[in-house]
Symmetry: C2
């Protein structure tokens, strides 16, 4: 399996995040993908290639142009106010507040577009986010051209970024951008299977009213876990998208048996949708050793996740999302890809 | 003028706030009102009396009961998770996220109800907030009984707390609770004049669809200042409240002349509404030395604010809101009350 990777991810280094009443070092850090890359090379998974560049239209096809403008210029506006460091919001668009305007100061826009205090914009964050999206787009182009499986080793991750907002360490929704690319290049239906520990609220937001992209997510119940306010089972899509959104929230402490049953349910639903390809939002923060998560998957379980994903027998684009247990992130991530590869001898190519 | 004050405000001490990318010591601190109290005694403004206790129904008449339940129990839930310190949100109800559910973990509720990372809930915050609301209610009862002017020296402040959310150092909206009390005790129409530097988004939220409580606010333009996403001039009320909401946002660097012109506009509008009493949301963070604000009023200007408020010749309830220039907060606040008192010889009593 080919991996698409850009070392420009190093241009995004979070100074830290505010959570549980403390400002702490960032969990989402550059070492994450470098350790995955080392493991890819160690096991000989396949070629590692840099991304190509794509026009911004592929990004604005899923994100509001004013959000993109903001992500590009936010840090310059922040610095122009003689503020040091990275741009964080000091208020948020919650109860009673408006999101219908555009414009205003950098603080106003931060309040409007950002959903937490864990996703800072540095001087070079935009370049890293753009390179990450280009990894997903490059991988999507390979799938569209007939490759059966590709790994987009994206960083920063993407699935918490929605049509007009960002957060959860995510700026651009790489999986959504890739799915849209596939739709724009001959594939009629795409399923996104999100196996990250956290609900992919951004991806759900982007495709919620569309019937051509199916979104299914297995994740920690938002009643106790980030993003808290989306990812419930009663969110089934709207309008043309009614029935094309499936959330499978699971309780604290979920181990392999229960998680695997949810995966089977997710894959059965994806199969019924009969997509032309699958995008996997690949997080490994379901691992029992993850420092910010509360599921209990073992490293070997990730092999089995890969095997089951291969059972769909569909062209599959893996997009890296979360996973914060640094020591094990390489093994866990590559286990999914190896499990998939070992079981996927018969995965077909796109024949759109 | 009588002052209603409770030393229970000391039960709320913020461990700090996250803003501009840093966790910094709290600006909203107990010394604020103690310095005001000293000044009240120094100038012999009048008696200082403790609040009476009032039934919770006076609070739930403007705040959703589930918000009140949350404020009362949040810290216990936080502690039950073995977390130290005060309860802060780690995510916020922004783009694409839901606020229509109730329930969930403390983190879910923090995300749903709180609009910033500057308003922590400690083990004793609820008691302080309740005492602060009781100060406003005690003062309102005096106005309803015929007193012409009373000062509720509230802390924590209130005007950023809305029907179902809190933030901006505010938990319970003391001014709104007082205005509602007046409505419930014979007064047909009440005007709230908010002279705090920040827009009173919570107060606007509570009364936005009502025609019996007029809200007018003079404040820093939310295009550059907290709360950023409310307080614009195009917000004029809705339904029965259409025309009963007036926002007068002003630019950075506003000094007395421009501010006073806005005050005259506010008072003319309040006069046209012909209220039976006025509640003043009294912030002095318009002072040029305020550490978090960007207006340029001088200490003597506050005397003139008081004089002009007295020109309404209406029973007037002053409710303390913001002001963070500790050294000058006593003089500035009491200047408003002295200015009012000196000019208010002819202020009538309630004759509802």
């Amino acid at each position: 399996m080919r991996t698409i990777y850009s070392d420009q991810h190093r241009l995004h280094v979070s100074p830290g995040e505010f959570g549980f009443g403390e400002f702490v070092p960032a969990f989402e850090k550059p070492e994450r993908v470098e350790i995955i890359l080392d493991r890819i090379r160690e096991v000989g998974l396949g070629a590692v290639e840099p991304p190509k560049e794509f026009p911004l239209e592929h990004i604005t096809s899923v994100h509001a142009p004013f959000l993109i403008d903001f992500l590009r210029t936010a840090h310059a506006e922040w610095s122009a106010l003689r503020r040091p460091g990275a741009a964080y919001p000091i208020a948020f668009a919650g109860g009673g507040l408006r999101r219908d305007r555009i414009g205003g100061s950098v603080d106003t826009k931060l309040a409007r577009y950002c959903i937490d205090a864990a996703t800072p914009i540095t001087a070079t964050t935009w370049r890293a986010a753009l390179a990450s999206a280009n990894c997903a787009l490059t991988a999507a182009a390979l799938i569209a051209q007939g490759e059966s499986a590709v790994f987009a080793l994206c960083r920063p991750p993407g699935h918490h970024a929605g049509a007009d907002h960002y957060g959860g360490y995510c700026f651009l929704n790489n999986a959504a951008i890739a799915a849209q690319y596939l739709r724009d290049h001959g594939l009629k239906k795409v399923a996104i299977v999100d196996v990250d520990y956290h609900h992919g609220n951004g991806t759900q937001n982007i495709f919620y009213s569309r019937g051509d992209v199916y979104f299914v997510s297995i994740h920690a119940d938002p009643d106790f876990e980030y993003p808290f306010l989306l990812g419930y089972a009663d969110e089934t899509g709207a309008g043309a998208g009614e029935g094309a959104n499936l959330n499978l929230p699971l309780p604290e402490g979920t181990g392999w048996d229960r998680w695997a049953a949810a995966l089977d349910q997710a894959l059965a639903a994806a199969r019924r949708f009969a997509p032309d390809a699958v995008v996997v939002s690949l997080g490994v923060d379901t691992y029992r050793g993850d420092p910010i998560s509360r599921f209990r998957l073992d490293s070997e379980d990730f092999l089995r996740i890969g095997e089951r994903l291969a059972s769909l027998k569909l062209p599959t684009l893996f997009v890296m999302e979360g996973g914060y247990a640094i020591d094990q992130i390489g093994i866990n991530t590559v286990n999914i890809l190896q499990g998939f590869g070992g079981a996927a001898r018969s995965v077909p190519r796109v024949s759109a």
